[in-house]
Symmetry: C2
């Protein structure tokens, strides 16, 4: 597929537009010495629960899953989670900052492409994050897995972008920091770009990214060539 | 549900009947100093890939997923995996030993219940393991996710036991070491027992085990009360 055929770009939110590193800092503030490991386990369990609930056919909102994952992660480290600490840590997810290049990159891309967000987060979560960081003006639509009651990488979630944009899937690019999310979107038929900031190995799910870069700035470069 | 209503028991295989600890030992033999971490990442990625491929609708056999997960796990640790090492580590999965109490427990339970295996592993993998460890005589049926082309915890996998046993689901008990597997079976409607050997926290997926013990010996005790 030629990239010049793309008319729209759909962006994942957590870890792609928004830096989840501050969540680890909040974990460290609440549980000194355990921040990195608690943050890692929390994120891992959050993803697991989205996949497991989706497979079980027992959807719950990303907020609920995030809360349950935090409680599991704390328990797995033997940490006593007070209701105050729990509220404080969940609040960290509502106050995420975008990566430094995001605003400028979206500004450039918006001149050529229709931009949308396509995320596991709920519409309320996503709108709040976009508004707080001044990115809401760039996004034509905010698409949430919550609308279809199942999480990524189920094809029904990726279909939301095709439906909302009223474009054939070959004209849509999907951008995510998560290799498995890229695989899901590529399996669906989108052109894909992986922001691989930590230079993790490629996920072996049969659907590698069409292009990879270490920041969203490289996405602009890739789309111009 | 009264437990005396149970007529059959379905057992998960990996980590439940068969001890996967020897895989870690094989990892340590091949990559000294990295065995525990490689084993942990391999197992984690193996599960992830079963869930992700199932959600994507891109099933591949448990053997293939296990191989791909190994390659990812080794790469994530910066370990060079030769084809010889790869073959040796995959072989470790074919040579798993049952936990020490398994044979005696199955012997006792077989007097009262119809016993089956219900696993993500392929029929060939499972039959090989059962035969090598002399447990095949206790199992009426070996049921594999491979038959339905999707992995646990999708309800279609748990349905295999109900169909094979020709019993209402309320008369079937399901036994697993994995909290998420127990959640999937409980959501489907089976009575559940979790063998929680490492005393991990309960998974927060809305479907806790009906009973929990630290070995299968406790399952016998629970069923007798």
């Amino acid at each position: 597929m030629k990239m010049r055929a793309l008319k729209a770009l759909a962006f994942d939110a957590f870890g792609t537009l928004f830096d989840v590193h501050s969540v680890e800092e909040a974990c460290e503030a609440v549980f000194p010495g355990h921040g990195a490991e608690l943050g890692r386990r929390w994120r891992q369990k959050q993803l697991e629960y989205t996949w497991l609930r989706s497979l079980m056919g027992r959807y719950a909102s990303f907020e609920q899953v995030t809360d349950e994952a935090l409680r599991y992660a704390a328990a797995s480290l033997g940490l006593e989670l007070s209701s105050e600490s729990r509220a404080r840590l969940l609040q960290a997810y509502r106050a995420l900052q975008p990566f430094p290049e995001v605003s400028e990159v979206l500004h450039q891309l918006a001149a050529t492409y229709t931009l949308v967000v396509l995320s596991n987060g709920t519409a309320v979560q996503l709108h709040t994050l976009l508004r707080r960081s001044g990115l809401d003006g760039y996004m034509t639509r905010v698409l949430s897995a919550d609308e279809v009651g199942i999480f990524k990488p189920h094809p029904r979630v990726y279909a939301l972008a095709e439906e909302a944009l009223q474009l054939p899937r070959g004209e849509i690019g999907f951008v995510s920091a998560n290799g498995w999310d890229v695989a899901g979107a590529a399996a669906y038929g989108y052109w894909t770009f992986r922001v691989n900031r930590q230079q993790m190995p490629e996920e072996l799910l049969g659907f590698p990214a069409a292009a990879v870069g270490t920041s969203l700035t490289e996405l602009v470069r890739v789309l111009q060539t």
